[in-house]
């Protein structure tokens, strides 16, 4: 009997080019996604050394972090640094023969949304990008890592990455999710349980009934935040849903290749009895809609809870909680449902896919954004935007009072014009609530798209289940 392997072991072994005695390995990279912020010096390095991109056909480039989301952005990007970075990406893509989805291309969008959408992302692949949320692609059973600029250059030049193998961690979510609870609540609850360092040094495989029952969009939301749990990558074994999602996409295998690919993809699961270095089990029926109250993604509580007191924590976390609450402008003991918000942001690579927008539209049905609230929806890609328009979702959201934007990272991070003002409080479907992440002094509460919609209606953090029963 061969040694039972985990899914991670199998993908790793299938891409091992070389291994040194000390475990330092050269791993083959199947797909490389490139965006404007972390790539200019890497291309510059290639030029200086007179190197070419080894496999331009396995590389795709898209501007997303810096781009404004107003409709006139294709004419001109006002901010000079941003404009230069976007222009540099354009020039580099042309010079090195890489496919680019430019700002005026309907396929443009957040790098982690367009990868799966265009079929670049496939089960069993190794995928990298100079961006920590590359873990998103793990939802397809692909080993996907974020990398630094010098590594971007390394992959461009050699199509490989120097790596040491991580440990295996299993997170199992048993049973089915209750009504009103979504993928975002699962992953935030996991991070609440394991902490932001819980996955350090590990690759997490998410499994169990609740994960299996998620759509591909939901699975991407879960894997997207593996990095917030400290893990290098998140993985979900591919199944029929995965194959159905990939099938027919522009870069998906076709014809005979498709048959071969699916046959191989069916072998991508963790063998019975394979070893995990760490195991965490959650019961789906105990998960509630959650929100974050602090400035770390682990500062998460069910919406039915109250703002905690720093004294409830121990060690360094006590001081961190004190600082968080001061930054967030919150008093211990305040019911989370009483926290009033100024802004709702629906977007980011966590939650800007079509299903997320459908969820928002469902909660908004027959309701309006509260008077005076700033509420924006930023689709994850031009194609998501187009589909939402076709399904009539866009029209409904606009009528309900949402600002309907062009695709990009937008208010997920303060690098483009969509930013929070100091002290502005936001219910956000993004993935990071760090100090200043959405703009200097901005206050972020992370939550699901359904919960964000509920907050848009009432103007405060709200239990979406109340709106569902009425």
């Amino acid at each position: 009997m061969p040694q039972p392997k985990t899914l991670y072991d199998k993908i790793w072994d299938a891409h091992l080019v070389h291994e040194d005695p000390d475990g330092t390995s050269l791993l083959y990279i199947d797909r490389h996604l490139v965006h404007e912020v972390t790539s200019p010096q890497a291309f510059e390095g290639l030029r200086m050394a007179g190197r070419r991109v080894r496999c331009p056909e396995k590389t795709v480039a898209v501007p997303d972090h810096n781009v404004p989301t107003d409709i006139r952005r294709a004419e001109r990007i006002e901010d000079e640094m941003s404009r230069i970075q976007v222009e540099a990406l354009r020039a580099n893509a042309r010079e090195f023969g890489i496919e680019l989805y430019d700002v005026d291309d309907v396929r443009q969008g957040i790098v982690h949304i367009i990868g799966p959408e265009q079929g670049w992302t496939q089960p069993g692949m190794t995928i990298v990008c100079g961006d920590s949320h590359t873990a998103t692609h793990g939802a397809f059973g692909a080993l996907a890592h974020g990398i630094g600029t010098s590594e971007v250059e390394h992959v461009l030049a050699t199509q490989t990455l120097i790596q040491k193998k991580s440990k295996n961690m299993k997170v199992e979510v048993r049973g089915s999710l209750p009504l009103g609870v979504t993928a975002k609540d699962i992953v935030l609850s996991i991070i609440g349980r394991t902490g932001t360092a819980g996955g350090n040094g590990h690759v997490i495989e998410y499994c169990g009934e609740a994960i299996r029952e998620l759509s591909m969009e939901g699975r991407m939301t879960v894997c997207n935040m593996a990095i917030e749990g400290g893990a290098r990558a998140g993985l979900i074994a591919p199944d029929e849903k995965t194959f159905a999602y990939v099938k027919g996409r522009p870069h998906a295998p076709k014809g005979e290749d498709w048959e071969k690919a699916v046959a191989y993809w069916r072998t991508l699961f963790t063998d019975e009895g394979a070893h995990f270095d760490k195991v965490v089990v959650l019961d789906a029926s105990e998960i509630e809609p959650v929100v974050t109250w602090g400035t770390s993604p682990e500062d998460v509580l069910p919406i039915t809870g109250v703002v905690p007191h720093p004294d409830e924590f121990e060690g360094g976390k006590r001081e961190a909680a004190r600082r968080s609450l001061e930054y967030m402008g919150l008093e211990p003991g305040t019911p989370l449902r009483d926290i009033e918000i100024d802004t709702v942001f629906i977007g980011s690579c966590s939650n800007a896919r079509i299903e997320d927008l459908r969820e928002v539209a469902k909660v908004m049905e027959g309701r309006k954004v509260k008077e005076g609230l700033r509420a924006m929806v930023v689709p994850g890609s031009g194609l998501v935007r187009a589909q939402a328009e076709e399904e009539g979702i866009a029209q409904k959201l606009i009528e309900a009072g949402f600002d309907w934007r062009m695709a990009g990272c937008s208010m997920c991070l303060g690098m483009n014009p969509d930013q929070l003002a100091p002290g502005e409080r936001c219910a956000s479907t993004s993935n990071r609530n760090f100090e200043g992440r959405q703009g200097r002094g901005g206050r972020t509460h992370l939550l699901s798209p359904a919960m964000a919609a509920a907050a848009a209606i009432t103007g405060r953090l709200t239990d979406v289940r109340e709106l569902m029963s009425s």
Partner: protein, 202 residues
């Protein structure tokens, strides 16, 4: 990465201790999209006054040192932040060797990644080189990495130590990418087998 074998050039004296990376390249120059072009702002705050005019007293502005290839400096050179922009700026100016009694760790490592040779010497040897360097354009020094030897303008030589693996990388111009490129046969073999096994991915 450019090879480093034997370097002959003018050595500029900078007898300050604790030259930090913010002095080497201030943070307002980090927003660049390039690794090159930073040489103009190397030691920016010491090199230029508030109006952007050159400060004639700063060593690299003196006629004799404008083409310097070697820097002789004080202890703990390169301390501060980990920015790789510091070695990028030195390299872009044309400096490929820094000699000092000690270096900050990250900067020291970053130098090797960028084809710059940092040499640690005892203080009295550094002082001797500083004296040589004071003689300006008349003071060309040769650094021979193969022999691990510095020869001064008067013919005297000073031996130095360097890690054998790093020496190998510099002599052959190998950065991480260069090292991986040495395994290109294995990458090609992998790609061939992979194309047979998983044609849709290859």
């Amino acid at each position: 990465m450019e090879k480093f074998t034997r370097l002959t050039g003018v050595a500029a004296p900078l007898p300050m201790v604790n030259v930090d990376t913010d002095m080497i390249i201030p943070k307002q120059f980090l927003k660049t999209i390039q690794r090159t072009g930073l040489g103009r702002n190397l030691f920016d705050e010491m090199r230029y006054d508030d109006d952007g005019n050159e400060n004639p007293d700063f060593v690299l502005n003196k006629p004799a040192y404008r083409e310097a290839k070697i820097l002789v400096a004080g202890a703990n050179f390169g301390c501060g932040s980990s920015r790789e922009h510091a070695p990028w700026a030195l390299l872009d100016f044309g400096i490929r060797c820094v000699i000092a009694p000690s270096f900050a760790d990250i900067f020291y490592n970053n130098c090797f990644k960028n084809g710059i040779l940092p040499i640690v010497l005892p203080q009295e040897e550094v002082d001797k080189l500083l004296d040589d360097a004071e003689r300006g354009a008349n003071a060309t020094i040769t650094v021979d990495l193969e022999k691990q030897e510095i020869s001064g303008p008067d013919g005297g030589t000073i031996p130095f130590e360097v890690d054998p693996f790093r020496k190998h990388c510099l002599l052959n111009g190998l950065d991480d990418i260069g090292l991986t490129m040495e395994k290109v046969d294995r990458i090609e073999a992998f790609e061939k087998a992979y194309a047979a096994r998983a044609p849709w991915a290859a």
